[in-house]
């Protein structure tokens, strides 16, 4: 009785109809997003006006009128300024950045030895990228190479003085090399140290707790500039004559300890957010203190505070610019130092150099920030609200 040939029963599904013309396409998007209300319309008009006013000028300054190569200031100066450009010309002086690019990257690192930092950078990227991509296997080996072997290799390559490599003192380092090595070491030291300090601060043992509180509160109470300044100006006066303590190392220690104190407080925030039941559950399973922290508490706590941790990293990356007050030249410091080169002194030089520095900083900070968002989503296994 299943078979009946009543023709009014449809045998196939009705095809989906396109949405009405009023709610699709560019017109609808414009209607809802740009001119949805009187307020929106006004804002849209203002926005378009701003874009029209700014963008063409920026494009013509940064690209169309820009000078990309040249031997000295004449390519970036108008005739009245002693150069070759027509009067009224205004464009970016990328020729300055181009001529000084090696310095911006490596500072005064000897030119014939610059393959060493380049090799370190290649190794760094080659080990970091697989570490960051979750799908790539052998994370353990990778991490050992990255955190164990790479620092040693980088140290030998960059400093030299052994295996036939000429010694390059750190006072010659500069530019992005200083920025990256300061922040990488700072990041690598501050996270574990910060975790230890955070655990110490929540410890029930009074001496450890007091020491951690004193350290954290002292360091957080001093500006980084003061720490660096003390390390570079006061310390040499206390040391005996002839005993010099590498300035870069002093800055490295200062920056790392400073970041660790901030990191400790970020991690403590995460530890406090873990419900008491988790601690008690771990205790009831008979786990010891370190097992409890490693297996139960820290994985949850650190996941919670990823935004805070990355925030500290990004802040520290940018804070490395402060080392210029102790005459070490990070990227920004080297760029500004080169403004004093009379061969490149033009009205456009400073602008171009600073925009270049800002772009490089943005590139790194934006990269860190995007990766942290990706990690957050990937580890978002619970607590979904």
């Amino acid at each position: 009785m299943q078979e009946h040939d009543t023709s009014w029963v449809r045998t196939e599904m009705a095809l989906a109809q396109p949405a009405p013309a009023g709610v699709r396409g560019l017109g609808a998007w414009v209607r809802t997003n740009l001119v949805g209300s009187v307020g929106d319309t006004i804002l849209t008009v203002i926005g378009i006006a701003l874009v029209v006013m700014i963008v063409p000028q920026v494009v013509s300054w940064a690209f169309l009128n820009a000078q990309w190569t040249g031997p000295d200031r004449t390519v970036c100066a108008t005739v009245a300024q002693g150069g070759i450009q027509p009067d009224g010309w205004s464009g970016a002086c990328w020729a300055f950045v181009n001529a000084k690019f090696g310095q911006f990257m490596f500072g005064r690192y000897p030119i014939e030895e610059r393959w060493r930092p380049i090799l370190v950078a290649i190794l760094f990227v080659a080990l970091l990228v697989p570490l960051l991509i979750p799908r790539v296997p052998r994370k353990g080996l990778n991490a050992i190479l990255f955190f164990g072997a790479l620092p040693v290799v980088a140290f030998i390559l960059l400093i030299g003085g052994m295996f036939g490599l000429p010694h390059v003192e750190t006072s010659l380092w500069g530019g992005l090399l200083v920025t990256l090595s300061l922040s990488f070491v700072g990041i690598a030291v501050s996270l574990p140290l910060g975790i230890v300090l955070a655990l110490g601060r929540r410890s029930k043992m009074p001496i450890i707790k007091t020491l951690c509180v004193i350290f954290i509160e002292t360091v957080r109470g001093i500006p980084l500039i003061t720490v660096l300044f003390m390390a570079s100006v006061m310390l040499p006066l206390f040391l005996p004559e002839g005993v010099t303590f590498d300035k870069f190392l002093r800055a490295l220690i200062g920056v790392s300890l400073f970041a660790a104190a901030y990191m400790a407080e970020v991690v403590r925030g995460g530890l406090q957010a873990i419900p008491k039941g988790q601690y008690e559950g771990a205790d009831s399973l008979g786990l010891g203190y370190w097992q409890k922290m490693n297996l139960i508490v820290l994985p949850q706590a650190l996941k919670l505070v990823i935004p805070g941790i990355v925030n500290t990293f990004i802040g520290m990356f940018k804070d490395t610019s402060l080392v210029s007050i102790i005459s070490m030249f990070d990227l920004l410091g080297v760029v500004k130092q080169n403004f004093s080169d009379a061969n490149w002194a033009t009205p456009q030089t400073a602008r171009s150099g600073l925009i270049f520095a800002a772009f490089v900083f943005w590139l790194f900070c934006f990269g860190m920030s995007r990766y942290s968002m990706f990690t957050e989503r990937r580890l978002d296994t619970g607590h979904k609200r």
Binding site: G107, S171, S327, N338, A342, P347
Partner: protein, 342 residues
């Protein structure tokens, strides 16, 4: 009593380090194989990095000249860029052997800070730059009454400015900024009529203005800023080497010895040239100083004479185009004068 004891101990410790410091900078330098030279963190014409990152400028070249005297090789110098705050500590603590960093020679620095300035490699002074389009017909600072003056705050420049206008019974509007970049931008945008800072700095700033040709540096100098290299106190030998390197640069210019003709000059008949270049028989001028007898030859080979050094770095051979002015030799109406080398 206890405090006094601690004080004595402290003084003894300081004294110990001071004697340790005086134990022959020349020997230490020779042992190291290079001179550690403190320079600025970047000042056009005095010490600034070029495209390769090498330090160029009068101050940097002066250290090369000393290296020429000591090693016969002007490249045996390592430069340490120092901020204004760090510079004296770096010299006192032995981090650098010479401080050649556009530093003004004052009595306080000679006495209280324990430095020895060796001379004046550049006579600078605070000057004025005006926009000639906005102030036509002004050719002296005394005509600036009522002008708006751009100046950096918290500097001696600001105080000198106030003194100058007050003592000449003139009025002015100070337009004060904290950062040098801000002062430059304000002046270029026409927020003030006059810019005041050290005259050598004015020439550098003029290069970064939109229309440099409209701006004129006025002839008046309202303060004395004698810039020179300094060494630590308590090491007379090193002090003499550095000081006489400076005099040798001047003497070479006076005698017409240049980088190009120094080899020919060695065979000159002029007894004075022969003496200066160490070509006299049994000369002991160089060895008495602690360097080789052809030290002046080496200095000139390294950087040229004072005039060449000046023109190359700040004068006609550089974008700064600063006139010799009072930095000319005494024979040409300037202040640069060297005692005889004999």
């Amino acid at each position: 009593m206890k405090h006094i004891a601690i004080g004595i101990l402290g003084a003894a410790a300081l004294g110990l380090t001071a004697t340790a410091a005086s134990a022959g900078t020349l020997d230490t330098v020779k042992q190291k194989g290079f001179i550690q030279c403190g320079v600025s963190t970047g000042l056009a014409g005095f010490s600034a990095p070029d495209d390769k990152g090498d330090w160029q400028g009068i101050d940097a070249d002066f250290c090369r000249a000393v290296a020429g005297a000591v090693f016969g090789d002007g490249t045996k110098v390592k430069f340490t860029p120092l901020s204004a705050k760090e510079r004296f500590t770096a010299l006192q603590s032995g981090e650098v052997d010479i401080l050649s960093r556009n530093t003004t020679w004052t009595i306080n620095r000679d006495t209280a800070l324990g430095l020895n300035f060796i001379g004046v490699t550049y006579y600078d002074g605070q000057g004025f730059m005006i926009n000639a389009k906005k102030l036509p017909g002004v050719n002296s600072a005394l005509q600036l009454s009522g002008a708006a003056v751009c100046v950096q705050s918290g500097t001696t420049t600001e105080l000198n400015l106030a003194d100058y206008f007050k003592s000449n019974k003139m009025e002015y509007n100070p337009v004060v900024f904290e950062k040098l970049e801000e002062v430059n931008a304000a002046y270029d945008a026409g927020r003030c009529d006059v810019y005041t800072t050290d005259q050598s700095g004015l020439y550098g700033i003029r290069l970064t203005l939109g229309a440099p040709a409209d701006h004129v540096v006025l002839p008046e100098i309202i303060s004395k800023e004698p810039l020179g290299p300094a060494v630590r106190q308590g090491d007379d030998q090193w002090y003499h080497i550095v000081k006489w390197t400076y005099f040798a640069l001047l003497q070479a210019e006076e005698l017409g010895i240049t980088k190009a003709n120094v080899e020919e000059m060695k065979t000159s008949d002029n007894p004075e040239i022969k003496r200066v270049l160490g070509q006299e028989a049994d000369t002991k001028i160089g060895t008495d100083l602690g360097v080789s007898n052809d030290w002046v030859v080496n200095i000139v080979k390294a950087v040229g004479n004072y005039g060449e050094m000046f023109e190359r770095n700040v004068g006609s051979g550089s974008p700064l185009k600063i006139a010799r002015g009072i930095n000319a030799l005494w024979t040409k109406g300037g202040l640069q004068y060297a005692p005889p080398i004999r």
